[in-house]
């Protein structure tokens, strides 16, 4: 199960809508599996059907996480014409076994989360924590 704050969900959705019709992508860093720090990434492909983190930006972001003892708890990207379900390409690249792969579909307004390990997709429940006040 992915437990995530409403604020972080809103940030993913806003980023996806902003970059629509291109796919948006990024990570949420955190510790002990708790997503905390939102990091939007540039989609180096600038494409409506593909995304790729810029390798140098990724290097800097991963080094920052390392320095802070964080992990990429969530890796998110958007689909802009299809459902929020991992594509074959998503599965072939998925290489963070402990990450929650979050997909948001701007077309269908769907927010879903998956584990992708050794090529196997497993959808998980998303629990959104509403902020008080």
């Amino acid at each position: 199960m992915l437990t995530i704050s409403r604020e972080l969900v809103d940030q993913i959705v806003a980023h996806a809508r902003e970059d629509h019709p291109d796919e948006a992508c990024g990570v949420i860093a955190g510790r002990d599996g708790v997503p905390e720090r939102f990091v939007r990434m540039e989609n180096a492909e600038r494409s409506p059907t593909f995304y790729r983190f810029d390798s140098m930006e990724q290097f800097r972001v991963w080094r920052d996480m390392d320095d802070r003892d964080e992990e990429p708890v969530v890796i998110y990207h958007s689909h802009t014409a299809t459902e929020a379900y991992p594509s074959r390409t998503d599965v072939s690249y998925a290489s963070e076994p402990y990450a929650h792969y979050v997909l948001y579909s701007t077309e269908f307004d769907q927010f879903r989360s998956f584990r992708i390990v050794d090529g196997v997709i497993e959808e998980e429940e998303v629990k959104i924590l509403e902020s008080n006040g």
């Binding site: 990570v27 492909e45 593909f50 995304y51 790729r52 990724q58 991992p86 390409t89």
Partner: protein, 90 residues
Amino acid sequence: MAIEVRIPTILRTYTDGAKAVDASGGTLEELIGDLESRHPGLRARLVDEGKLRRFVNVYLNDEDVRFLGGLGTPVADGDTVTVLPAVAGG
């Protein structure tokens, strides 16, 4: 002195869980060969048909080796090589 190689989570099964291992060599290709002799199986995860796999990014200090000389990039004692899985999809 040696070259420190930082290993991503997904490849730590080859390094007994170690986040970083030491290796030596004059080029990245030699370094990967040395890694393979101590951590069998690692090379195939990094290299395919004589080229770096597109699923991984390899950095020498803080440069992507694709912008340097790929597998032929010279490396030296004191350098740090970082391996990260590429994050991409469709």
